[in-house]
Symmetry: C2
Subunit: 224 residues, 2 copies
DNA sequence: CTGTGTGAACCCCTTCACAGCG
DNA sequence: CGCTGTGAAGGGGTTCACACAG
């Protein structure tokens, strides 16, 4: 028997592009809510933020019927729906592995709180770092303690900020400890078993993309 | 008359997906070169790194005929071609605007050098920070000096690491100073005039995508 | 009459399959 | 004979257009 869970209908097959846009819509709605807007139509949302109205409706329709015909969407209601769909009402726990400059910066990043994320631990291998703290006061522990903390604190996401050469090994260890979602900043690709999701934040790739743009711009100005 | 430039044939309309993959191919080739591989076929490259062979060939074919039929591609030659196509042989100059934890981390990031990027300046608005230095010794200057430095040092890319609320204003100032390529870490969207390219590195978006995955996984294990 | 939800058209990107060069 | 370069087929995602609900 199909249990009518809190989470409705299993969205059979939803594109990752759609889910990524949900986050963007949520931000737009946050802005609208802050400005006091109560209700908005897909057309107005599209106009205001540069989306396509039909796409917004189609994306949302994957998860239910949130709109009122002839009126539009209730801003606050839709925000809460989206937060639930995205799982932001769960208070996800992160660990950060790699206490270099970037890892330390992330450990103290105040932006996590708005999404309900919290840092459960900060790890490194360097004996000189272990025992010291980030500016914000988060203690650096040795990676050997990672599995027990992941288990004890029910950690959801591993944020990996180690050098590229150590990336695969670090990911392997996190996966072995039960992690199924990884955000990795090290340039390059890592392999994970099925069922584990990796999101890569690749600064080098982004910069190279800009570099290509600059090297090949023959756009608009001076159309020779 | 069409000048036969160093840069060949203007690649009429190349998809951004293609150019993004060039970076990935380049990395794979770097690995192969480091391992001493001289020559590789598109099929072997695809096998080894999980691409599609036809796609590799098609992507490369946008920019010339780099392969030798019956043999494959010369690893080192193709690396140099790709570096040129991506503009990595130009020694791009960056400024970092926002000397928070992240900005400071990026200022000292050693990974830029491999791509020929260099940091021409590090900026902030806080009087308390101006005049101090990053751990790596890069001086923090006041943003008011940004336009003159961009001009004087022929800066190519602005890396923006300011709080979200200040993002749009910062971008506007950089664009006014002549910047046409921006890498922004602040969550949210910014508007730029046509001809200016923005790449966003959005940690929050990536984490929310992982959050969605965790909230909606009914994959493989326990297929009820 | 306004705006949602949605089938159909459209468009672009990927994959397949093969002609042809080395 | 092997592998590139490429036209044609296939698949997905976005946009269009409209039936219908409020």
């Amino acid at each position: 028997m199909a249990v009518p869970e809190q989470r409705p209908a299993l969205p059979d097959q939803v594109s990752e592009l759609t889910t990524a846009r949900l986050s963007v819509y949520l931000r737009a709605l946050d802005q609208l809510a802050a400005a006091g807007t109560r209700t908005i139509s897909s057309a107005a949302l599209a106009d205001r933020f540069g989306f396509n109205a039909a796409l917004i409706r189609k994306d949302l329709a994957c998860f239910g019927e949130f709109g009122v015909r002839g009126v539009g969407y209730d801003v606050d209601e839709l925000r809460h729906h989206l937060r639930h769909i995205l799982g932001l009402d769960r208070g996800l726990r992160l660990v950060i592995i790699g206490a270099g400059n970037l890892g330390l910066a992330l450990a103290d990043y105040p932006g996590f709180a708005a999404d309900g994320f919290s840092v459960a631990g900060l790890f490194d291998v360097a004996p000189a770092k272990v025992g010291t703290r980030s500016r914000g006061g988060i203690e650096i522990r040795h990676v050997d303690g990672l599995p027990s903390l992941i288990d004890r604190e029910a950690v959801d996401v591993a944020v990996v900020t180690v050098p590229s050469a150590a990336a695969q090994g670090t990911v392997d260890r996190a996966v072995a400890a039960g992690i199924r979602a990884i955000l990795i900043f090290s340039p390059g690709t890592v392999r994970v078993p099925p069922g584990v999701k990796v999101r890569s934040v690749d600064v080098t790739l982004s910069l190279e993309s800009l570099s290509f743009f600059l090297a090949n711009e023959r756009h608009a100005r001076n159309p020779d």
